[in-house]
Symmetry: C2
Subunit: 255 residues, 2 copies
């Protein structure tokens, strides 16, 4: 029952990564959520845009494959990287299945998908140094036609990110170690795709205990410079998986 046979011989394993960054929109200069996609240069789905990724190499961990993909696509290291989900339904790449059938094969791809956050400062620095001319950044509100089931994958990654920004300190990945409430609110607004009432936002954060004042203020910019905050490190991040640094399973609820 646990032994492997050749029944899985025609299943290929790929690792793909949804990479989120905040970039200033023009002309408002307010940040919004963008992600890089890769144009496919061969069938199936030739000419369509796809998530960066590729086959898992026999000599690398899943997370290493995701990080390699990210570096190859954006020349960046992630400030946050987490496994999203394994996508393996039978109907996820009809085009591929049809082409394989034409070749007399029953080929199928299971994709283990990661999602990553990259710091916006780094994105600015790496602009113009794209690793490939087939890579382009898109606003999540204006995505092109996507290959395979990558629309479903991105929708789920967006949901996971939006959920985590409300219940964890994930926004940290988009900010420096200290930040003003306005900067934090701009990140939340960019991720959630809607504006938030400043007074409500302040009240919710103050009651949630997730951020703490540093006692310092932004230096020399105005008559009343805004206060600087940092995240409360005592609050656990949400579930990141079984083996990540700072991962919760080492702190069981009953210990």
């Amino acid at each position: 029952m646990t032994d492997l046979t050749n029944r899985d011989a025609m299943i290929s394993l790929a690792v793909s990564t949804v990479i989120f960054a905040l970039r200033p929109d023009r002309p408002t200069e307010l940040p919004s959520l963008w992600l890089p996609l890769v144009r496919r240069i061969r069938p199936p789905c030739e000419g369509q845009w796809a998530l960066p990724g590729g086959p898992l190499r026999a000599d690398e961990d899943l997370e290493s494959a995701a990080a390699r993909t990210l570096a190859a696509t954006t020349a960046l290291a992630p400030s946050y990287l987490e496994q999203l989900y394994a996508f393996g339904t039978l109907d996820r790449s009809p085009g591929e299945a049809r082409l394989a059938a034409e070749r007399g094969q029953n080929e199928r791809v299971v994709s283990i998908v990661y999602w990553a956050l990259v710091n916006s400062d780094e994105v600015t620095q790496s602009a113009g140094s794209s690793a490939s001319e087939n890579v382009a950044w898109f606003s999540v509100d204006d995505l092109p036609d996507l290959a395979f089931d990558h629309d479903v994958i991105i929708e789920y990654a967006l949901w996971r990110l939006r959920n985590k920004v409300e219940y964890s300190r994930i926004a940290h990945a988009f900010l420096g170690d200290t930040f003003t409430l306005a900067e934090l609110r701009e990140v939340h607004e960019a991720v959630l795709g809607r504006s938030l009432d400043p007074a409500n936002f302040r009240r919710q954060l103050e009651s949630s205990n997730t951020i703490v004042p540093t006692g310092k203020r932004v230096t020399g910019t105005s008559y009343r410079p805004p206060k600087l905050y940092r995240y409360n490190q005592a609050i656990d991040p949400l579930d990141r998986g079984p083996l990540s640094p700072g991962n919760a399973p080492s702190r069981k609820p009953n210990s």
Copy 2:
């Protein structure tokens, strides 16, 4: 970048499932958490116990493979089934790697793991009808030597279950449609592996809005029969993945 090559030819894909059930402990008759394991009858790890599972078949979805494994091991349908994680580090089955190396192969298994809850009534009914003589149930507090990295997998599944029982209505899977506070507390105690103060438990649940009184009581058992409750269906279950029924991505935070 997204095209598959033969570099992944020696990576096999398996689906395994961590199956949790509540069974009454003797002599207390209080429920506690158990799971079924399968004794390996061939190398690697021959004689050790492993999670039920096997290679993904070319013609089935990941979730179907998990449900098939569950039915073959326990003759049960799950009351809850969710993808846990894809385990794919290079060092996860040293025994297997060594044997493969002896055969001159560089074989490697990536396991996509699901976790499931089965209703305790069903477990009682199926006791003695085990699908295989190599299947046995173990208390999570008294597990045998486990094959591969299955100890890490079970620890993570336990963490996920314990986390969800505190923040969602997952305990529902172990209960009927209606239940008393004492029954619900027994499920929480069994999952968390520790006793809970009845008065605190009642206060926390009443303030959380996750359960609602049905207006009915247990019939004809005592002078003051206990009230019956049900889960508040208006409260979202936690993240179950992108394609599950009742799945959250269809209700985006900003809609």
